[in-house]
């Protein structure tokens, strides 16, 4: 186990370097960010040259990357164009996004699994078909359409919620955005649980439990659900990283000042330091989440051993 974790951690190093290099190159392809700083007029060449020098943009790309990574390892993620430290941006953005992710994951767990169990037990019945259709529709409508419509209906027309999230971004404000963010994954969780429940329902141990005369409720919660949750938990674990980085659209619509917003701003302003910094952290989250999920296997199922 220990050896396995160490090997996995070592394997993370090339992936980490590769992913950060990739995003660094991609942002670099976008070109010179300085021109955008001067509004609708040309930067005077002397100031532009000096800004380029200060941000290290006059160096070759590989040198920029090395300098950047060197700084990152000392905890210095650089400075955004508005003079803010990127670490400062992170310290405000990540808590918000983490809260949003928690809300989204809760929705996935509560609604997704409930619907999955219900449909899995009633495969082929009208309720199954209905939920199946709804989840398919949710998957097929782009998030921004769902988001804008919910915002308009719930926030403006019916006045149930505040259409935008305040800077505090408390949990209660994040319910609807969390639902929108979770919607696609929610549909997947439902379907995954359904498949898994339907599969396990016919397994021997369930039959045994039923034969023992256990109440139906107990069979479902204790025997069936417990075993069917493994793939779902796996999915949710790996989804966390994607939710955090994929909230660009949701955060924009609902005015959430989280990671997605900072990334979007960073890209629009071609702010390499912000974009690469945030993506670096996201890559780490992704790698760690992946490792944890793999380790969870062993925790969840004693038959698995890691060597």
């Amino acid at each position: 186990m220990g050896r396995y974790v160490i090997r996995r951690l070592l394997q993370m190093i090339p992936v980490f370097i590769g992913a950060t290099l990739l995003i660094f190159l991609m942002v670099n392809v976008m070109g010179d960010p300085i021109a955008g700083l001067c509004g609708d007029r040309q930067c005077d060449p002397a100031t532009a040259a000096q800004l380029r020098r200060e941000f290290g943009l006059d160096k070759p790309v590989w040198q920029q990357y090395l300098t950047y990574m060197g700084n990152v390892f000392t905890g210095d993620f650089g400075t955004a164009f508005n003079g803010q430290k990127v670490t400062e941006l992170m310290s405000t953005a990540f808590p918000v996004t983490i809260r949003l992710t928690i809300v989204a994951v809760l929705f996935e767990i509560v609604i997704g699994i409930t619907l999955g169990v219900v449909t899995g037990l009633r495969r082929g019945k009208p309720i199954d078909t209905a939920v199946l259709l709804v989840t398919l529709v949710v998957i097929s409508v782009p998030t921004f359409v769902t988001g804008l419509l919910l915002q308009l209906l719930l926030g403006v027309e019916w006045g149930w919620i505040k259409p935008s999230v305040s800077t505090d971004a408390n949990f209660d404000e994040l319910i609807v955005p969390g639902l929108v963010l979770a919607s696609v994954s929610l549909a997947y969780v439902t379907r995954l649980t359904r498949t898994s429940i339907a599969e396990n329902r016919r397994s021997d141990y369930v039959r045994t439990a039923v034969a023992k005369g256990l109440p139906r409720r107990r069979v479902i919660t204790r025997h069936l659900l417990r075993n069917s949750l493994i793939p779902v938990v796996t999915f949710i674990g790996t989804d966390v990283g994607a939710l955090m980085g994929g909230a660009i659209v949701t955060e924009r619509i609902f005015n959430i000042h989280g990671v997605g917003y900072q990334l979007y701003q960073g890209i629009l302003r071609q702010n390499t330091q912000t974009v690469v910094g945030f993506v670096t952290v996201l890559v780490l989250v992704f790698l760690v989440a992946n490792l944890l999920v793999d380790l969870l296997y062993a925790v969840l199922d004693p038959r698995i051993r890691y060597a």
């Binding site: 992936v15 590769g18 992913a19 097929s140 921004f144 308009l152 660009i248 990334l263 974009v275 996201l282």
Partner: protein, 324 residues
């Protein structure tokens, strides 16, 4: 476990059930198949496929989604069959108007006919979906298949590369890469989807190749001296391709939806291309005044995505014997 050839690792489809296969059963099957005659191994896939086909023919979901897709393909090739107008002919005087004779879906914010644009948009969306999926499927299965088949250093290197691309959030990558594109064709968008989409197929392909490779008839073919290429083409590919097809069909729908999201973020397809994504994103700002302009292209998109996802779903169910 010294002889363990693979290890379960981060989100990578590890070996699968092959290693745990019941010895007696494998043996029986191997005998049945007659490993030596070369035709033997393809019996199994044929039966899998024909089983699935029988299953599908009786599945209403499959029939409906196939018909929808067929219809889409027809209007993509020949949109003027059902729409006589010109999707690029727009008169601002008609902006945001509701339906009128000859214009059943009304007009959008620029005064273009929504019906005509919805019909013509099918071509772009289907092209994006199909080409991106083909690209992803080919690149992903080749790389994943090679990693799975050769194992060792190949596997390690390719898997790490897969992880690198996997770690970049897709929407983010789209924003960065597509914001510099000046071409107004669909190819940059497709190219981007392939570039960031292949890891998902690659992992699946790798996993199923590893599974297939462990099958005893493959081992037997190897023992009989089959070449690498023969093993890959005759024995492994037919067995490993099913999961790829399933996931690819479902992914196809999501690529179409992704195109709309990119348009919403201002980096999607560019005019004069007519696409649902462009129309949805421009109509989303007028939603309070001209909801019909949003409704129709979104509806068309949803139905298309739905059709592909349902198709994929039906195929998966048909290929998954456990759900029978």
């Amino acid at each position: 476990m010294p002889e363990q050839p693979y290890e379960p690792e981060g989100a990578i489809a590890a070996t699968g059930m092959g290693g745990a296969m019941d010895l007696a059963m494998s043996e029986a099957e191997t005998l049945e198949k007659g490993p030596g005659d070369g035709n033997g191994p393809s019996d199994k896939p044929r039966s899998l496929w024909s089983d699935a086909w029988l299953d599908l023919r009786r599945n209403p979901v499959f029939i409906i989604s196939s018909l929808v897709i067929l219809f889409l393909v027809v209007i993509s090739i020949w949109p003027s069959a059902i729409a006589s107008g010109n999707p690029l002919k727009c008169d601002l005087a008609n902006a945001q108007k509701g339906s009128a004779p000859g214009h059943p879906f009304g007009y959008d914010g620029q005064g273009c006919d929504v019906y005509t644009r919805t019909v013509y948009g099918a071509r772009t969306s289907v092209t994006v979906g199909v080409c991106a999926t083909l690209g992803v499927a080919i690149l992903g299965s080749v790389l994943g298949g090679l990693a799975g088949f050769f194992g060792g250093i190949w596997d390690s290197v390719l898997s790490r590369i897969t992880d690198v691309f996997f770690a970049i959030p897709v929407v983010l990558g789209g924003l960065v890469l597509l914001s510099v594109v000046t071409s107004s064709t669909v190819w940059p968008v497709i190219g981007f989807m392939v570039l960031l989409g292949w890891p998902q197929i690659s992992r699946i392909a790798r996993g199923s190749v590893i599974t297939a490779k462990q099958n005893d008839y493959v081992q037997a073919a190897r023992a009989l001296g089959a070449s690498n290429s023969r093993m890959l083409l005759r024995h492994i590919t037919p067995n490993a391709v099913a999961p790829v097809i399933v996931v690819a069909t479902i992914a196809l729908g999501t690529y179409i939806a992704l195109e709309a999201t990119l348009s919403y973020l201002g980096v999607g397809l560019k005019p004069p291309t007519v696409s649902w994504g462009i129309d949805i994103s421009s109509a989303s700002v007028y939603v309070r005044n001209a909801p019909h302009a949003l409704l129709w292209p979104s509806g068309a998109l949803a139905v298309t995505v739905l059709a592909f996802i349902m198709l994929g779903d039906a195929v998966r169910d048909a290929l998954d014997p456990k759900l029978r």
